[in-house]
Amino acid sequence: MSVDNICRLTEFSPHCGCAAKVDAASLHDIIHKLPVSVSKNLIVGTETFDDAAVYKLDNKTALVQTVDFFPPIVDDPYLYGQISACNALSDVYAMGGKPMTCLAIVCFPTKKLPLEILSRILKGGSDKINEAGALMVGGHTIEDEQPKYGLAVTGIIHPKKAITNANAKIGDELILTKPLGTGIIVTAAKAEIVKETDLEAAVNSMCFLNKSAAEIMQAIGVNAATDVTGFSLLGHLHQMAMASNVCVELYMNQIPILAGVMEYASLGMIPEGAYNNRKWLERIVTFDSGVEQVRQDILFDPQTSGGLLISVGKDKAQKLLRRLRNAGLKSANIIGRIVKGKKGAIEVLEK
């Protein structure tokens, strides 16, 4: 598994996976000060905080572009490479696109760690890129104290078929395709209190490409989608609700959660990013009195290579759910609905 236990790769990362993201509030402040790029061909830019940029080349083809990288989230370099690639590819899938080419972004301490580790990270990434049907076409590597790996991915989509986060409609049902809790599980793994089976389930979930989910949602036709990563379920949902000018009701008991997460969260294994997410969102999210603190924490947990969050017309929701589950996404569930109300607000109900 790991390079014969030469090192614990996660010791090189104070923050794990997407929890290493700069917090949303700071990022908003910085981005708002930048000039906005405007073009009639730019279908999705920076304003809606969507998963990827979409640029129309002609009437049949638009480019979908994204970049994502982070420090080691697990100790096994091959698995870390797979998870990071899967996470980067996901932004293209979240737009309903098809990834075509990938460039690797690599930071690595070549004097401190054996190059074999880097080679296994890249092999993990490359295997996921193959599985996605995309091509690995280059990259850039620099010396750094802390290893980091990820991809810049270019995909394509029909310009009229881009699924943004800005078109959720009142009455839509919300489907989440993967269980929550990867941030809490990897924190528990860092503390070495995680059960092997719990970690394995989280790793399997993070290594599962959102490819099938993207193809199914394109085939059925949905109104909006995003992927759930560092800003947590509530953060990405809030961005969708803001961009779509709607309000959301979530059903706590319907939200899929990885095994063991409740216990680890109760033991204080909550990554710092979850507290940043809570601070950013606490004024716009309300909880039923029955939803205790630890379950709230899970909804703020930064996810790595999380599932797609899909807003779909009520008439299509059951069919979409069935097809997702048949494609191996056994935890997929309807977790809430879009309602009238204050733009961007989220109400978490016990049911």
Binding site: S266, M269, P271
Partner: protein, 71 residues
Amino acid sequence: MSKEIDCRGLACPLPALKTKKALDTIESGRILAIVDNHAAKENVIRLANFLGCEVNLEKKGDDFYLTITKT
């Protein structure tokens, strides 16, 4: 007298983990955990509550002093 665990300068999950280990070693009594960031403070509080302990929080400068009583 309470046992002191200084978790200043430690990133999560170490403060909660060290506190848990300290609580595991005593039958009953008090432990003082010192942390220097919000996430560590919250995690130690969650842990203590989960283990049925009482927590008393005091802020001193930039640090948080958490007195945890196990009964």
